[in-house]
């Protein structure tokens, strides 16, 4: 309601105040009043950050993000993100894709990432496809390490840079 009255007013008053400039700015001025402030794509781009799947969360299904993801809970399914962090008490059953994947928790499945870090509490069962890997003392790994990330013609969309 308020929005409508306000835009009506500005549409009515504008031509009286500045008759010459009225035509051009009339439409652009209505627009900010009519759009809700929060849902603009600009705000969406600004608000990016790390999504957190907390330890009280269990997900059955796929997670996909264009941003960073931190997992502290349980995931049965694949995870895709830029930097994916698997926290110390987290468990993922499935494939983890990312630019960088850091594992402090448990992964059963596969990791495909340019850079892989297995920290001292990390527990990995399955293959790791990487271009760059760091394994800290104490980490557990049962699987093949294959430095093939971004090499052969893979359907994976990630390029090496």
């Amino acid at each position: 309601m308020t929005m409508f009255t306000r835009s009506d007013k500005s549409a009515d008053e504008k031509p009286q105040n500045t008759p010459e400039a009225a035509r051009a700015p009339a439409t652009p001025q209505l627009r900010p009043a009519a759009t809700p402030p929060v849902t603009t794509p600009a705000a969406a781009a600004r608000a990016h950050g790390t999504s957190v799947i907390g330890k009280a969360v269990k997900i059955t299904g796929q997670i996909e993000s264009t941003e960073d993801v931190q997992i502290e809970g349980q995931v049965d399914g694949d995870v895709r993100g830029q930097t994916v962090t698997i926290g110390a008490n987290a468990r993922v059953k499935g494939t983890v894709y990312g630019e960088t994947v850091e594992v402090a928790g448990t992964v059963e499945g596969k990791i495909e990432a340019r850079k892989v870090i297995l920290t001292s509490t990390g527990h990995m069962t399955g293959d790791v496809i990487h271009a760059d890997i760091r394994i800290e003392s104490g980490a557990f790994i049962d699987g093949h390490l294959r430095p093939e990330h971004g090499k052969d013609a893979k359907p994976s969309t990630k390029s090496s840079t």
């Binding site: 809700p36 929060v38 999504s51 907390g54 009280a56 969360v57 993000s65």
Partner: protein, 135 residues
Amino acid sequence: MAVLPLKNFARSGRLPGDDGQSRLLPGLTIDGHLEVDGEIYIDGLVNGRIDGVTVIIGPQGTVVGDIVAREVRIEGTLEGRTFAHHVSITQTARVTGRVFHHTISVDKGARIDARMPWRPLNYFETLDQLPETRS
């Protein structure tokens, strides 16, 4: 995240020292079933069912599917069904589907194309199997 106004809503009790906020930000998509023993803030996209205690759909969030929780706050988009003791729908919300509730508040400006059936509290105890009401 200090933005969340529902801080003192009674949690389910366990998880000592759980800073445990879960937040799904723009750019994140989940297809599947989310079970949350606590609070979750969704500014991303969820396709599927969410079971939680407190579920908040942020202004940029979208949920397509069913939400079962004690408290649901909708600031973004919901397409589907909500089953909750208390539902609050804010000014920026867009809701289609059904909102099963015991108490509800709707802010001026919300865009709603939904049925909002009232249910007694004990109705919400029996939601392991969701009713078939798709239409």
